[in-house]
Subunit: 309 residues, 4 copies
């Protein structure tokens, strides 16, 4: 039985590959929703449509929020390039975004696939928060929320202690994490221990498939930035690892359930995921925090995707 997913994108390279991995694994992607984040909002829409054209799939792309609920933020072109896949700016040739807003789409799909729909949150959480504020019943209808976001150990990327998705809209994150969703969170500082290193990168370069060439092309900028500026030993795959976890739980080597809250002040810890690991606050656990990844399992899924065509 096909699983039903919504994938929420601030469409850079890792969002695109995440979308592809869902489709490759037979997931029924009911919607691609677009949210503010990595690059120019308009380019995020273009990237999603262009990516769908590349794999020849007519999945509906719904424009969502183009700004955090109330905070200001900045996009990170230095990380992903102006185009989110390097500096090149692509455009779809055929596909067009839907008129319906992502928030409406999320609410309707939650209702239509009540109890089944899963939300792959690999971007700032503005869309899901607004959908929840519109219709609270989605917490009972959305089966699972898979979050790429936050940190397990306070080792952030956009600031010393915060990961970008949560930092961009910490108010949205606070709403989502406290709403009652069934959340699995894959933190940034867990993911950075599982980069695609020199060996794997070269192996991919030698695969000679359309998808592997596409992969190399769209990840080159991000690879260089990550290795040079963040001292990671290769290309990190925050969104793609989260996607692989969503597709196959066995990618999780270890995880723990905690109550997690979000620091949403205008302060140096803005966007931090605060994990109540000692249950000091005596609140019910709301998040499965992933601590370790079965990297071989992830790699096998990556290669399976890259050998698609």
């Amino acid at each position: 039985m096909a699983r039903h997913f919504i994938i929420d994108c601030d469409t850079a390279e890792d969002d695109i590959m995440s979308l592809f991995m869902l489709v490759r694994n037979g997931i029924s992607v009911e919607a691609v929703t677009i949210v503010e984040g990595n690059i120019s909002y308009q380019q995020e829409i273009n990237n999603a449509l262009w990516a769908l054209e590349f794999i020849g799939k007519d999945i509906k792309v719904y424009p969502g929020s183009d700004r955090p609920i109330v905070k200001s933020f900045r996009s990170v072109e230095e990380v992903h390039g102006k185009g989110g896949i390097g500096d090149i700016l692509v455009k779809p040739s055929r596909l067009k975004p839907e008129n319906k807003s992502a928030i409406d789409a999320i609410v309707e799909l939650a209702d239509r696939f009540s109890g089944e729909i899963e939300f792959l949150a690999i971007s700032p959480l503005t869309n899901l928060a607004l959908a929840y504020l519109k219709d609270k019943s989605i917490v009972d209808k959305v089966k699972k929320v898979w979050v790429m976001g936050g940190t397990a150990w306070g080792r952030g990327n956009i600031t010393p202690v915060a990961e970008y998705n949560i930092w961009v809209d910490p108010d949205a994150a606070k709403i989502v994490f406290n709403a009652g969703f069934d959340i699995t969170m894959v933190p940034w500082d867990v993911i950075v221990d599982y980069p695609v290193d020199e060996g794997v990168w070269n192996k991919i370069k030698g695969m000679n498939t359309k998808m592997s060439e596409f992969y190399v092309q769209i990840y080159s900028h991000y690879r260089e930035y990550s290795m040079k500026n963040e001292k990671i030993g290769g290309t990190p795959h925050p969104d793609l690892i989260t996607t692989s976890v969503a597709i196959d739980r066995s990618v999780i080597k270890s995880s723990e359930k905690h109550y997690v809250d979000i620091e949403n002040c205008d302060c140096i810890t803005r966007g931090m995921t605060v994990i109540d690991y000692l249950n000091i606050w005596k609140k019910a656990a709301n998040t499965e925090v992933v601590y370790e990844i079965d990297f071989q399992k992830f790699l096998s899924m990556l290669f399976n995707l890259l050998s698609w065509f």
Copy 2:
């Protein structure tokens, strides 16, 4: 030509009378939208429907947000009574709320009455903020936003420096005030100088109309609370004065245009309307702040309403 209004209510006595004043003055009320605030959300819906039954008008009531975007808040039953019109809990006998959400209704009405629709914001600003986040074009379609909220001089009610509507959802207020709407704001600490005092109250009690009896019945609790706890010399009419200003600008004796921002921190000044009266921040003025009321004009409109039937 009829003017077109949406009235946003956390339906206590002053919201009800404001709705009546709009209808009495030939305004076409396209929607009553309900938002969290004064009393239990469900009772706010009931009050709106019951009030419409009292004046025999089938105006659509749309349920909106029942909570601030991200803050916690408290209702103020001690001010308006459990039922918002004293402690009695009323129910409509016939009318029912719409299924459509207030946020959708606001967006659609803004589009349908583009350039004409006016928003009477006499409650926390959650609905308008969410409608704006859903469809930013409403700033160009909504002709005017009349806000009962904030303070001109830092003399609040729910806290020393903040007025209740803004305090309940300061994030929503910050969104609305910075969105680009054409706003006229009637502050709490201006309104308290214009209470219905002993003389007017007795005059109303002697009017012997259905509406004047209704008025006395629903305002008694609020009158007592305000005079005893807030040292006001009579019943304040924050919503109703704002409504009279919206209907007839000549109720404004003096006003000034400023850039106004909202303090939305978790701090003792939460919810304060910060008026940049010296233009220190060099931002374009976004709000006409009303400083003085033509009280006689307001009273004449009040008596006109109370003599309706």
Copy 3:
């Protein structure tokens, strides 16, 4: 019987004239303490010593804090000129500052003049706060604290709602206001209603005394700035009016006792004096807030000072 004062200065023109007014009125000034604020800290020390040379008084000048406790701040040379008395930088020719720190001096003088010493706080409150943290018993020994600071109505100068002294070190202010001192506060937005206007300015210019010439010389920059940038109808005298209030209570036309707290967040209301005018927080009143000034009384004291020599 002479009264005993400590005057705490971020020595610009109005601090200097305040010091002179104390001496002129037979107050025994036990110390001039210097604190961060208006201009360069070193120049504040120079100004105090140079001013003492001008009136030929050897009052001890104690250097205090040169920074707020924990916030960052900025000096306001645009208001008072680089030298605090216009752009000219003066130096004392003879007098030197003490080695002892102002904090120690305050603690010792409080002890020596226990029950009598009065603190004229016309600058950021860092010194008094640190003295209190050093020796809490000073709250029982200091007879009175006269504060130039804050706003009565949220009409600030450095930001829309905050007055400079409190804004510079809101943490110090929070400590002082909650320590238990007997405080009279003269707010900025009360003072601006009592400027030295064209008529009085010209009268002073025609006095032909050394002091009146000195006054004109040191206030010219501040006068111009205030009239042009803050739309005040003349030269405001925040420190000097507070000093006149301290010397002679009859300068107070009306005042009220309230509990006043300080907003010390990093937010747009930083430094606001929050007056609990309705006693919502049920705390004991800690501050006499001055609401109106007997301007004629103040002017007579000003002229008395300017005719000194």
Copy 4:
């Protein structure tokens, strides 16, 4: 050549043992300074004097701050017992605290032992911050500041992400960490990996020395609390490990220099040590953060102490 130390205590069992370890290792302890924290301030003074009587040393005990600079806090009797060494309340029989304040003592000792004095900060940082504000030159005179405080990985004790010492007075911590001191910080969530477990505890119980019996007596309450409530596999020794690090750097197995700042907001991350591990903020490193401990080295120093007499 003896090293010269000041030890700053909120005197519970681990502070006492830290003091003993300094003396045992031939350190010249110039002062014990007392600060708010673990238990009642008065009891902290008593404990320090009583402990000195136990080892027969007349080291001067200077009372310092009994409250954070501006925040409110709570003591943690549930952790250390009412008396800080269990529930028993001890009193010195002979020794008395000094009249001089700790802040003055720190400033004077820094001057007297300029370039040599070391500050063992195993408590909230209020005293050191106030000493710095009193005399900034101490940053050049204090050779080293050894801090027990903060977290390396966001795993706190008093709140999910903050360690107690920093949480109690985050403003003081922010002042100290940004002042320019040469700081080595031993974080709470590094220390918890090095508890005195069952085996070592039993070994100590079998040592039959006065000191080992004293140790068992004063640590029993803390041991039970830590094992039951914080899921630590034994008694943690945050202060004592930091002290051993201060005495002998070889106890540090690994460490890194970073710029560390403190979150001092009133928010859920209050008191967090924010480690700029990627140098995002481009500030000079101010702290050597200890990541790993040579536990055997520490244990040998512990046993050396416990076999003293």
